[in-house]
């Protein structure tokens, strides 16, 4: 079942970055419109932040602070690197699924550094909150990712896509899909999982950043949401599988669709408090995900 993907040169990485930023842009625009704003709001926001000065804080850990802020976009790009756009991929890793997981764990460090580096109480509390939240979502996310890998019998993303020919994994792994989507919102620090950047602590990890630093953090959050949506497409929606259109178009269309649904749904839910989320994550969601994994494993063995 060796899938035919073509590894393209690294010179195409800027295009991947462009696509990620375009998807992030779309998510931000959609978010603005459903919140009662205009389509141009993200453009105005970007102009505002490009015009605003950066801040220097007393005894801030500048290196970690800037790394944490700028790193989110890099993490999103590294996630996308293993996701084939139709036939082409930047990297045909044999352990692509694990790579994606490793990149989302990187987000732990990045958000924490963004909170720690500012040397400010509110930002630090934002960092604490993200770690508590990560503790709640990471294990369910790992096992939700395991389900498609077990279904395909491979950790290679191209194999996972090939194994869905005829029947997408979302059909018989719905629990893993829903859990995965929730976790994507969680590692993007968005919507109900945005406690680390909540208004009650003055914006948390965002409390002390201004100018381009803030722009990078905001774009990075949307980019992570976009990268997570793209991975949901290859892991659960058959990647480029679809009639009439070329496969790369299908990958993009599905990614934007999943991304839009995530943006629309997350508004409907209030903030989930991280300290209470841990209990739900471990007592309810984790067993459910394991049960899904058991079902998948039994199906694979019997089939």
């Amino acid at each position: 079942m060796a899938a035919d993907v073509v590894t393209v040169s690294v010179a195409w990485a800027p295009l991947a970055l462009l696509l990620v930023v375009a998807a992030a842009w779309w998510a931000a625009c959609l978010d603005a419109v459903v919140s009662g704003g205009r389509w141009g709001a993200p453009a105005a926001e970007a102009a505002r932040l490009l015009r605003q000065r950066r801040r220097t804080l007393l005894a801030a850990d500048r290196l970690l602070w800037r790394l944490g802020g700028g790193g989110l976009l890099v993490a999103a790009l590294l996630m996308v690197a293993v996701i084939p756009l139709g036939r082409w991929t930047l990297s045909d890793l044999g352990v692509g699924v694990v790579w994606f997981n490793a990149m989302d764990v990187l987000v732990w460090a990045l958000v924490w550094m963004a909170g720690w580096g500012a040397n400010s109480t509110h930002a630090l509390v934002g960092g604490y909150r993200f770690l508590a939240q990560a503790l709640a979502y990471e294990l369910p996310l790992m096992f939700a990712l395991t389900a498609p890998a077990v279904g395909a019998g491979s950790l290679r993303v191209a194999d996972v896509i090939a194994a869905q020919h005829g029947l997408w994994f979302v059909v018989w792994m719905p629990v893993a899909f829903v859990v995965f989507c929730a976790c994507v919102v969680a590692f993007s620090v968005q919507g109900p999982f945005a406690a680390a950047a909540a208004a009650d602590i003055g914006g948390g990890v965002l409390a002390e950043v201004s100018g381009v630093d803030r722009l990078l953090l905001l774009v990075g959050r949307y980019a992570l949401l976009a990268a997570g949506s793209a991975f949901a497409v290859v892991a659960f929606f058959g990647g480029g599988d679809g009639p009439w259109l070329p496969d790369w178009v299908w990958t993009l269309v599905k990614t934007f669709a999943v991304l839009s649904v995530l943006v629309l749904v997350r508004r409907r839910v209030p903030l989930l408090r991280p300290d209470r989320l841990v209990e739900v994550g471990w007592v309810l969601v984790l067993p459910l995900t394991l049960l899904q994994l058991l079902v998948v494993s039994v199906v694979v063995v019997v089939r």
Binding site: A47, R54, A199, D200, E208, R214
Partner: protein, 414 residues
Amino acid sequence: MGLNELLGRWAVRRAHVLVIEVPGAAGVRMAVERGLTARSWVQATSPAEADVLAVCGSAGPRMSVVIAAVWDQMPGPRTRVDVVGSAGVPAALNAAAVALLDSDAQRSDATSRLGSWTDTDDERDAGDENDDDHQRDESNGNDGNDGEASHGDMDIGEDHGHMDMGEDHGDMAMDMPMPGGIGLAEGGQDRDGLEMDVLHVPLGPVLPHWPPGLVLTCTLQGDVVVQATAEIVDPVAGRGLPVTGDARRDVLVDRCDDVARLLAVAGWGSAAAQARQLRDDALDGVALPVCAAGVARLTRRVTRSRVLGWSLRGLCTATRAPGQDSSAAGSDVLAVELPDRLRGWLEEAAAAAAAPTGSLAGVGLTDVAFTDAIPPVALPQLVTGLDLAAVRLIVAGTGVVADLTASAAGARAR
């Protein structure tokens, strides 16, 4: 300059405004919030985010010091507007937009901040980055070398646990030289008996969705409050709620504002915006039956959300210390869970909107006084032992006013 102007024009379409409500200026704050919505401007959550500082009401002597500190923390381009009456809001926001676009004034503002620049190790590091900043400074209309230095003045100790009053390092060990002259935090045993750093952090008076003028000085371990004292800066009698001339609308406005505040702190932005829209409708003179329908919609949405109940429930009972004097101030406030209080506010709003005449006696509402409010002295016992998120929810769910009797009297006087 073409690009600079273009950026500026786009930027002021979405200026972020840090709204500071001085005690006794609730009506002005509401008017400013409405003005922001009308312009699609955004309310900032911290000084770092803000382009505009909007001071609602006349600041007293202590509040003025705080506002000056917050002003120093704003990165710029920045402007400050003082709004003392609701009628002045549109003009003030127009002036803010003009000031943000005035490149010459912004440039001289940035240059004037150079004077108070202190040369610390950190600032010397900052100098290395000026090359990176060069491009941005140009787009800013600056001459390229003041980007970092322009923030020097806010770095003299008032920037930690930001939005504070610049006194949070007072009781740290100052004899141990550290980067920037900040002492190391002391250690202490936390509630689980583990050694943890102790931080002294004032919450307020400038925080989003926070009672005007309240300063809650907390001793934090992690994000848990282990000790707290509370006071109101420059207290005044009454809250300065808007007067519509119809007691039913006054109640509707006040309760919807309360609901919006609690929902915002609970992190449900879209529902909070809905509550705020209801408040503004009531102020705008939208027919009361229409308001009532809106309240009913919001009530359905809020009561249906199990997630909200799950987030808010269990906070108040957790604060009741064993053997606590049940007659102590604030303990009756403890008895009501936050979701029930939220529903209570919505029910009162619905009752007010449905009341037949301008009199509220028929529906059991007598006054628009902040009946759930507690005095500042009652706050520490409510919040000790809780994490910051819970503290914020409890404060948003009770409201803290300087003097309960004065507040009620002020409300009745209208």
